[in-house]
Each structure stands twice: as C-alpha cells, then as structure tokens.
C-alpha cells in the first residue's frame, strides 16, 4: 500500500472519515466536533462532507453524550462519542462503565453496544490538574470495555478503524503530545487488530513496556543509553485491554529485565498490571526486579518547573534504565 508522512491527527481523522464513507451507521458527536472541526481538528471537514446529522455538535452534557451513544449503538448504529478530554469522561462514567460496558452481558448477548468513546489524554504544557490526566487504567479495570492508546500515526488510523468496527464499546485515547507527530500512513483503509502489541524497537538488555506518548519518550531514552552500551527493547501494547501478554513475555524472556513507563499514576495503574502479570507468569525469566516509572502520585501542577518534576521524561527514563543495568548509583523507582 502506498504510504505518505502525515500527522497523527490527520491519520485519526482519515480513519474516521474513511469508516464514515464506508458505513452510513457511523457518526460523530461531541462538543465542537461540528463546523469547528473539534478542538484539535480531529473532525476538520466532516460537516462539509457528511452534514451536521452525522457530525453533530452537542451541549456540554458529557453524561448524555455518552448515554446517547449507548442508546444509538443499541439501535444498531456505530456512534463515536467525543468527550474531548479524558478528565471529562469522569462525568460520563455511569454511561461508559455501568451501561456501555455491561449491557451485552446483562442481556445475555441480546443487545450490544458498538460505540467508541474518544478523548484526548495526557500532558500538554501546563494544562494543569484537571486537563492533564491519563486515567485509562480505570477503564482497563472495568470488564466489558476495550481500551486503545495508539502511539503513532500508523497505529492511530488502524486502531480507530478497528475500534469503530468492533461490536463492543471501545475507549480510544489520543495523546495530545502525539497529535502533530508525523509518520508513514497508508492511504487506503486498514485495520490493526485490537489486542496485538508491537515491538517498536528491538533490543537485548532490557524491555520497556510503554504506553502512548511514553513510547516516544522511551525511544529518546533508548537512544541516550546506547552510548552506555545498553540495548533497550520497547514494546507498545497499543491495546491496553485486552492486551497482548505473549509479546510482552517474549520480550522479557529475551532481555530478563522489565521497566514499564506509563504516564498514569502507579497505584493500581497500568504498569502495576504489567508487572504483576510478568511476575505471576514469568518469575523465572526475570534477572532482576521489575520496575515502573510513572507520573509522581500527585495532583498535576500548573507551573512548568513543577509539572516537569512530576512527569516522566527521557532523562528520568534513561536514569532508570542505567540504574537497572547497574550503570549508575541513582536511586530506584519514585512514587
């Protein structure tokens, strides 16, 4: 398939647009998705192409946005509910977690909810406490939901198409720092199966499992430690639930060392799940204790030096790698 370099947001947009062209039951709704084209331009041009019925603005009613998506999905449509920021999804939690996640099971399969709940996630400079969250581990924890966090434009397009086609509710999170990152993306529609990880970088000394923007940060850290003779392998789960434990275990078997880098918080966070899975199933393949590097357990502050102190970055990741490889006397994991 011919590819070209486009931005993550363009790849996401293209995936949604191509699905909407292919399937008349797909529509988008949310605050500002209409003529404005969404806050980060994810639906730029959609109103002109599809009309305001299929790309509809809503009031600031997150619970109803999500609930209307549930109802429309029950009726056989494939709604994409844009909740803007993962922080705002908290207002929609009943409809996502008590309703969308559970209706198929409670009905013994008589109904299903093929809805996609999309939101931006993660840091963006000084967006502060209520606009910088990475709460996806909450949704990973809820039976009935699938959770997708792409890290590249290629993944963004393939995964949104798969999410839309999936017959179960999918929480799809687009990291704000990734929106302008460019990558090779095929022009044609394509799918990436949910539940399949990708080794983003091969290596032999240590496995990093990273999510979202931390994949990019980890790639930078891996380049930094090459000079120390350390070869890092980076596994990107892409789908956080259901996740590809086999690929992760295969990598840890090769390297014997595991560092999870996740922008969420460590307590009951995604890193905790990966580490506990590897310890439960691969205790014998670990040469040393696994670790996770996450955002410090704090409300996220506004001022840049404070924010920098809280969040992961390539230097912190590189320091952690070196510590794990015994190449530095720096302290280990911070909580």
């Amino acid at each position: 398939m011919p590819t070209r370099r486009i931005r993550f947001v363009e790849a996401l947009r293209e995936g949604m647009r191509q699905e909407m062209e292919r399937d008349a039951s797909v529509f988008v709704m949310g605050e500002g998705v209409g003529p404005h084209g969404s806050c980060f331009k994810q639906t730029d041009g959609f109103c002109a192409e599809f009309g305001e019925d299929r790309c509809r603005d809503t009031p600031i009613s997150e619970l109803a946005i999500a609930g209307v998506a549930v109802g429309a999905a029950l009726a056989g449509m494939r709604p994409i509910a844009d909740l803007m920021w993962i922080d705002f999804t908290m207002l929609a939690t009943d409809q996502i977690c008590n309703q969308a996640a559970k209706l198929r099971y409670m009905s013994d399969g008589q109904v299903s909810v093929p809805a996609v709940f999309r939101a931006s996630t993660g840091r963006l400079k000084s967006n502060a406490a209520q606009h910088s969250g990475s709460w996806y581990s909450w949704y990973v924890n809820m039976p009935g939901l699938k959770v997708v966090v792409p890290s590249t434009p290629y993944d963004a397009k393939g995964l949104i198409i798969s999410a839309i086609r999936d017959n179960d509710p999918v929480v799809y999170l687009e990291h704000k720092m990734l929106l302008n990152v460019k990558g090779e993306v095929p022009e044609e529609p394509y799918t990436i199966p949910l539940g399949v990880a990708e080794v983003k970088k091969e290596g032999s000394d240590l496995t990093i499992v990273a999510t979202g923007y931390e994949v990019i940060e980890s790639l930078k850290a891996a380049a930094m430690v090459e000079g120390d003779g350390i070869s890092v392998e980076i596994v990107d789960p892409r789908t956080l639930m259901p996740y590809d434990s086999d690929t992760i275990l295969e990598s840890v078997k090769k390297t014997g060392r595991l560092l999870v880098v996740d922008e969420g918080f460590r307590y009951c966070g995604y890193g905790s799940e990966i580490i506990s899975m590897v310890v439960e199933r691969g205790m014998d393949i670990l040469k040393d204790r696994p670790r996770q590097l996450t955002t410090r357990h704090s409300t996220i502050p506004f001022s840049p030096p404070l924010e920098e102190f809280i969040l992961p970055n390539p230097t912190k990741i590189a320091d952690e790698i070196r510590a794990m490889m015994g190449k530095s006397t720096e302290a280990g994991v911070l909580a």
Partner: protein
C-alpha cells in the same frame, strides 16, 4: 378507546398485579436471591402507555421494570424465571430482576442505576430520527430520577434535537426512603419540561384512561417529528422500595389510604359502568390471569439454574491473561 383495547388494558394490569404479588410470595419463601422492586399499585402507567405502542417501538425502564416488560409483551414466565435467577429467564439469569432485556419486543433494557435509562432512551430516539423511522422511544423513570443530572441533560438534548422520546415520570411519592416532598421543591414535576422547551403534562397515574390519552397525544406528536414530551403520572408505591424493606419512613395509614385509589378497581368499575364488561367477566378474566401466573411461577420454579461456567461466557474484553 374501543372495547378490545379497554379489556386488553384491564388484562395487562391484572397480569402485572398477579405476577408481582406472586413474586412477593416467592421472595418470602426464599425462591428469589435478592429483593425485587415491585410495581404493585402502578400498573395503570405501564398498561396505559404501552397500549399505545407498536411492537417495534422501544422502551427503557428502571429497577422497578417488571410491569413495563409485561405491558410491552414479555411472557410472564420469562420475566419471573429471570427474577428467580434461572437459565430460562429472559436473560438466562445474567441480568436479574433489575436488568431485563428483550429487543425483539422493544424492551431495550431495564436499568438498575437511577437516571441511567434516560440518556439511553434519548439515544434510541436519535437513531430513530437518523433512520427516518416513525417509531418512538419511551423512557420510564421515577420522581427520584427527575432530580438527577441525567434527567436534565436528556430532556435538554431530546428537545434540542426534537427527538421522538416520551419521558414518563412515575411519581410514586418515594425514592427509596425519601418522599418526593423532601427531595423536590415543586409539586408537579411536569413543569420542568417548560425549562427545556418541550410540553409537559401531569395526569393521575392510577386512572388508566388519563394515562392512555396523554400517551396517545405525545406519541402522535413524536411520530410526526414534533419532538419529545414529559408525562408525569402521579401514583403511589404501595410496597416498600424493595421486598424486605420495612418502610418505616412512612405510616401504614398512608399506605392504606393510597389503596383507596387502586388502579385496577378504578378501571374495573369504569368498564362495568359503561357496559363493557360485567362483574362475571371480570372474575373470569381474573381467574384466567391467576392461572397464567400460576403456570409461570411453576415454570420458573422448575427451571434449572444456569451452569456455573456460563458466568464467563460473554465476559467483555476477552482478556488474554489468565485471571
């Protein structure tokens, strides 16, 4: 209302009443794993609204949803087997008393979260409109739910988008233990509709002809594309919030006084007075419903429980990790 509809409505109300009383008895003797929320005294609302609906119209209801399921056409045996947690129940025992589904007759879900159903019904309405159909979606909820954010967001959206949704507020005077007088600063919940630019009406929920007439008007409007309506049906919750609720928050005198306005008595008397039926006809119909419910109860009782492994069938997410 023609004669057939009048009698059909009476039959529906009797069916619901007898099913609920049968379930109350079965709960007392330990055949139901957890307290059901029964609909005794409110039958006229389900019967009056649903008598106006086609099979392809849709409804979403609440934890107190058995009556709506029966009124929409669910067989009592399947409803009762579900409450008894058997595999022959409408959801094979997975949903239970508070979560009943049968999309083939438009029962898109009875939802156990107060307020949970209204946004879903609004979404059903959106799908109806986008598909250029003249179906309607009905959202049943209570006085308690009308104070929930979901109510306000749903009515606002349904009105803004002119969706074919009938919002039916069953004001039975209690939300669990809290009376409507102590939770709601207005007398008629229907006036809230004006705040969302849509019509609202209050009717006596124990007079099925009033319910029926209000529903007919709202449904006709909705089918014509003129948008949603809020119908408040004033009634009384004769039983406790759930079976096993000692309901000490209200007096026995209040409950007994409410029984004076029994909706089945009202309708029976109305149909005898206008010559539609005789007292004998009523007794025959009542006996017939007794028989139907007795058979349904026996079916529920004799059905097997689901096999334990069935618990993981359909579990969402299909995790790849051994749990």
């Amino acid at each position: 209302m023609n004669k057939e509809i009048k009698i059909s409505i009476l039959e529906t109300m009797l069916k619901i009443r007898k099913a609920e009383l049968q379930l109350a008895m079965m709960f007392k003797i330990g055949k139901i794993p957890s307290g059901a929320h029964l609909y005794e005294g409110e039958e006229a609302i389900a019967a009056g609204i649903c008598a106006n609906l086609r099979i392809e119209d849709q409804l979403v209801s609440t934890h107190r949803g058995h009556g709506h399921c029966i009124a929409k056409g669910m067989e009592p045996r399947r409803m009762m087997a579900e409450v008894c947690a058997k595999s022959s129940g409408c959801c094979s025992g997975k949903g239970g008393t508070m979560h009943m589904f049968d999309p083939s007759i438009g029962v898109m879900g009875t939802i156990g979260i107060v307020g949970g159903g209204m946004p879903i019904a609004t979404g059903l309405g959106l799908a109806i409109k986008l598909n250029n159909s003249d179906r309607v979606a009905v959202s049943f909820f209570g006085d308690g739910a009308s104070n929930n954010g979901a109510f306000h967001e749903s009515l606002n959206l349904a009105s803004l988008w002119r969706l074919p949704v009938i919002f039916v507020c069953e004001n039975n005077k209690y939300a669990t233990s809290v009376s409507v007088a102590r939770s709601t600063p207005i007398d008629d919940i229907s006036i809230r509709a004006a705040g969302y630019g849509m019509p609202g009406v209050t009717v006596n929920g124990n007079k099925v002809d009033e319910v029926y007439a209000a529903a007919a008007e709202a449904i006709t409007r909705a089918r014509r594309g003129e948008g949603p309506t809020l119908i408040e049906c004033k009634t009384y919750r004769i039983r406790g919030h759930f079976e096993g609720d000692d309901a000490l928050y209200r007096t026995k005198e209040e409950v007994e006084a409410a029984r004076e306005g029994d909706p089945i008595e009202y309708w029976k008397n109305a149909l005898i007075a206008d010559g539609t039926i005789t007292e004998q006809d009523f007794l025959a119909l009542s006996d017939k419903m007794d028989e139907l419910i007795a058979q349904a109860a026996q079916f529920a009782d004799e059905s097997p429980y689901p096999s334990p492994e069935d618990a993981l069938r359909l579990c969402g997410g299909n995790p790849t990790v051994v749990v």
